[in-house]
Each structure stands twice: as structure tokens, then as C-alpha cells.
Amino acid sequence: MSLRNNRAVLLAAAASVLLVAGLALALFWAPEDADQGFSQRIFYIHVPVALTAYACFAWGAWKALRLLWTREPHYDLESYTAVHMGVIFGVLTLVTGSVWAKISWGVWWTWSERQLTLFLVLFLFYCAYFMLRFSVEPGPRRANLSAVYALFGVALIPVSFLAIRLGERFIHPVVFRRDGPALSGSMLFVFCVCLAAMLALFASLYTNELTGKRLDARLRELREALE
């Protein structure tokens, strides 16, 4: 098991180094944005968190597909943990996104920000994932149901993004539109560091949480064996 522990330690170390570097660069070193000034710096946390959330859901769906394909039960726990991380990053995206909306347009919520709306839909969808999981007895049946639902989730992401774009024409006339700040060389570098930091954070928390859940399962087995 030593390899796995080393990997966890390595991931945690990489995550913390990258996070500190990313935050420092984003807050102090990155050049001031021409029109948005200091508030543009939220970009360095909002977008990486959003992209990491997508990565979590994709990873959860990949593990779900593996479960349905190979029927090995351990994939269920991995898919569940990845989706769980995805919802945490999703909530963070919603929070940082609404702060950005407050800064840029003075409103805590705007429907015309496509990504924000998409995350709201995904948030509802994946909360239902947990509702489904908690209302089925643990076992192969629950694993299959969760896996199928996770696959639907990843199919829903592009479809509802398209729907939101299509919906803009008649649901909510586009009042605020930002086409993403023009990224100069150094800004792009800072953005990449922050993105790497968030992905490393996901990997690290994911590995730890998975180990914790496996420990729970093993202890339950041990308890049954001893009783």
C-alpha cells in the first residue's frame, strides 16, 4: 500500500505548492487589467474552479462507464467520490460566479451569464444524484443506478449549454455580455498555474476522500467478521 500513500502525499504537496503559487501570482504578480482593474483577478479563481468541476463530473462519468463495463464494484465508490467533489467545486463556481456578477454588473445573479446558468442546472441535477443514491439499498443495484445517472449527467452538460445559448434569444435579452478578458502572455501563465492548482487540489482531495471511504467499507467488513 505504500505506493498509494506516496501518491497521496505527493498530490497533496503538489496541490499546496501550486495553490500558494497560484494565489500569490493571481493577487500580486498578475498585471492589472485595463478596464476591470483589480476585480478582474477573480477570473483566476472562478474559471479554474469551473473547469475543475467539469473535470470532476467527467471523471465520475468515466468511472461509471468503467463500472457498467467491467462490473467491478470499486468503481462505484470512485464515481461517487468524483461526483461529490464535482458538486463542491460546482457550488464554489456558483459562489465565485455570483461575486463576479456583483462586481461586473452589480447584481448577485444574472441569467445572461451562460456558464453560471449551466452550473445552476448541473447543481440541481447532481443533488438529485445524491437523492437517488440515498434512497436505494447499498449494493450492485445502487451502483448501477448511480452509474447510469452519472452518465446522463455528462451528456446533459453540452446539451443544456446549447439549450441555454438557444434560450437567450427569447428568454432573457442579453443585457451584459463579456467575451472573456483578453489574456496577455503573463495573464495566461497565471491562469494556467491556477488551473493546475485547482486540478491538483481535486486530485488530492479525491484520493484522500476515496481512501477514507475505502477505510469505512473495510471497517464495516471487519465489524461484520468480528460480530
Binding site: 462490473r71 464494484p73 439499498e137 447499498p138 449494493g139 450492485p140 461484520e224
Partner: protein, 182 residues
């Protein structure tokens, strides 16, 4: 997740007759559901080298629609199991289990014994190679129990049979092997 069956390895040779006994809750029904392919084992391996269409499974519930008549239920299963000469087979089975007169009645109006006999028809409809019977005698009157005995005697040798029952002495003489679950 309650663990029902633990470190059990079991082999049933073709044509054998396995009697599974044990108190209620000892895992008899779970074992049969596993063999039928309804449940997947959480650990270990299970292979029943028979296609799904060759297995007959009698569960606690009759697995028939209460709003449909006996004939309609058997007709549905006959089509799903692609039974040849469906009408004749269904007629013969209903006759044999004394349900011919009640064939147009809704199953909802059947007594528990009649439902069990209909379930037996459903199980034998496609002439299965593996017969899984979970408490076949439950809720049956004297004449129906005779029918089941006759069925078990007639199949031993050709067909593989697994019977789960908590009153085993009735079936013990016919069985080639016995599995007692604690």
C-alpha cells in the same frame, strides 16, 4: 448492507436435485435469486452456464399481473420466452394444474393457492433445463401438493432442480444432494 450468504461454494451437476433447507432468513431465497440471475453476488463468482430462457424460477410472489387474466399472463410469458405451440402448451398446463375453468378470470380474484398454481404454470411454460422452486408447497391444498410431488418425481433425472423449503422431509427422498443453511 446485510450479508446473507457468506463464503459459500456450491456446485450442482446437471440433472441433479438439490434441496436447500434452513430456517427463515437463512438465505434460501437469496441463493435462488442469485442462481436465477436476479441478484449479482457482491463477492466471488457465480456462473450458471444456461441461457436465461432455459431457467424457470418460482419466487414467493407469483410474478403475474393481477389485472390480467390467467390466460393473458401466460400468453405474455409464452411470447417473451418464444414458446412454440404456445396455445397448446398453455392449455395443457392450465388443465394439469386445474386452472382451465378459471383461465378468463382476473388473477386478482384468485386465491393464494390458485396464484401459486398459476406461477407453477408460468415456470414450466418454456420447459426449463434448470428449475428453481422457492417454497413450492406454500399455500397449496392437498391435491395441489400432490401435483408438485408428481412434478418433482417426473423431472428428476432429466432436469436440474433446486428446491428451497423449510419443511424438507417431504422432498428429501427425491434429492441427490442437500444444502443446509444455518
Amino acid at each position: 448492507m446485510k450479508r446473507v450468504l457468506r463464503d459459500l461454494d456450491l456446485e450442482v451437476e446437471e440433472g441433479g436435485f438439490l434441496l436447500v433447507t434452513g430456517p427463515n432468513g437463512s438465505g434460501k431465497s437469496t441463493l435462488l435469486a442469485l442462481l436465477a440471475g436476479l441478484l449479482a453476488p457482491t463477492e466471488g463468482t457465480l456462473d450458471v452456464d444456461l441461457p436465461r430462457g432455459r431457467i424457470g424460477y418460482l419466487a414467493h410472489e407469483p410474478l403475474v399481473y393481477r389485472e390480467l387474466t390467467a390466460l393473458e399472463n401466460l400468453d405474455l410469458y409464452g411470447r417473451l420466452y418464444h414458446v412454440r405451440e404456445r396455445r397448446e402448451t398453455i392449455g395443457a398446463l392450465l388443465e394439469r394444474f386445474g386452472l382451465w375453468e378459471a383461465r378468463h378470470q382476473r388473477v386478482g380474484s384468485f386465491s393464494r393457492g390458485m396464484q401459486q398454481r398459476l406461477a407453477l404454470c408460468r415456470v414450466l411454460l418454456h420447459d426449463p433445463a434448470l428449475l428453481l422452486l422457492d417454497e413450492p408447497y406454500s399455500a397449496l391444498d392437498e391435491s395441489a401438493r400432490g401435483l408438485v410431488d408428481e412434478l418433482l418425481r417426473e423431472t428428476s433425472g432429466g432436469r436440474t432442480v433446486v428446491v428451497a423449503s423449510h419443511e424438507p422431509d417431504h422432498v428429501r427422498p427425491l434429492s441427490t444432494s442437500i444444502l443446509a443453511l444455518a
